[in-house]
């Protein structure tokens, strides 16, 4: 079981306002949850607004082109899809190597998320990666390969033991 090629995420930008209007917000409100599985889902959603289907679709496409929608599509329960284990790996890397190392770790196909975060006095970890595998053992092996690739062995493997909440953000 492998992973697909990187998609259209926009690395780097953590915050930066894009122009959206009230109608865009209406569109976002209707597509931030679960769209209907029906022959013309966007017509059904547009019907809840003053817009017609064509305008609704045009706005969704524009939000996607501008990167405001980073991905449109199905979200899976990855445990059900065969990825039964996931781990957050917190790395302690020298600040001046964080960018270089972050890029190397992001290049691993098993890594789904990779962020640099602000360390704290008593919490020195500054790079965070999420990895997914069939078992914990597989996750351990992946982390070991990552560790060897960057020459850093100061890391924490934080296995997910229970899901308390997983939902999509309701923005507006």
């Amino acid at each position: 079981m492998g992973y697909s090629q990187p998609s259209n995420a926009l690395p780097g930008v953590v915050r930066g306002r894009k122009m959206i209007d009230e109608r865009d917000k209406q569109v976002i409100r209707l597509i931030q949850g679960d769209i209907p599985v029906a022959p013309r889902p966007f017509a059904l959603l547009a019907g809840k607004t003053g817009m017609d289907e064509e305008e609704f679709i045009r706005r969704v496409r524009r939000l996607q082109e501008e990167g405001i929608i980073r991905r449109f599509g199905a979200t899976l329960r990855h445990q059900e899809a065969g990825f039964r284990s996931n781990a957050m790996v917190a790395w302690r890397v020298p600040d001046d190597r964080a960018e270089e190392i972050g890029k190397v770790l992001a290049g691993f196909q098993e890594v789904t998320h990779c962020y640099q975060r602000v360390p704290q006095d008593d919490w020195p970890y500054n790079l965070y990666t999420m990895i997914h595998g069939e078992t914990r053992e597989v996750c351990r092996e992946i982390a070991l390969r990552m560790s060897k690739a960057i020459g850093i062995d100061d890391y924490l493997l934080l296995f997910s033991e229970k899901e308390f909440k997983k939902t999509s953000m309701q923005y507006f």
Binding site: P11, R15, I28, Q32, F42, A81, E161
Partner: protein
């Protein structure tokens, strides 16, 4: 889940067509009828493999901010703590993890001040003092489509 289901899943995770008849288009790509695609997707939702179909947003470009929080919660306080934290709509992911900092959650809000205030409320209500706020300074990758 058979091979056709897997092909549908791979198709609709990142290449979902934004068109008038999206399921007909998915069917066209895979050599299936619209009815067959809709029937199979409904089946994949019923068995829980598909959580939802919709948009995933770059919160920063909507002028929201997000962070990762880690809390050190004694066993007997976990239930109460999780209930308190999960009440906030901005908390979208919350997991128990294998560490003394055992509860990890993400928090999205319009400002970091709002998040800090919420964390103070959570501390006061739950009695859990040790909650770390670990905002991102740089994103290197976010990719949540799985090749099944």
């Amino acid at each position: 889940m058979d091979e056709l289901d897997k092909r549908i899943l791979n198709e609709i995770q990142s290449e979902f067509p934004i068109v008038v008849h999206p399921f007909r288009e998915v069917g066209r790509r895979l050599g299936l009828t619209e009815d067959e695609v809709i029937r199979r997707i409904n089946g994949l939702k019923e068995t829980g493999i598909i959580r939802r179909i919709g948009g995933n947003f770059h919160s920063g470009s909507l002028d929201f901010t997000s962070t990762l929080c880690a809390a050190k919660v004694p066993e007997e306080k976990i239930e109460r703590f999780v209930e308190t934290v999960n009440r906030y709509p901005g908390v979208t992911h919350n997991y128990m993890r294998s560490h003394e900092f055992n509860v990890w959650f993400t928090f999205i809000a319009e400002t970091m001040e709002e998040i800090e205030e919420a964390l103070e409320e959570i501390r006061a209500e739950s009695g859990v003092r040790e909650i770390r706020n670990l905002p991102a300074v740089r994103m290197f990758k976010i990719k949540v489509d799985f090749d099944v």
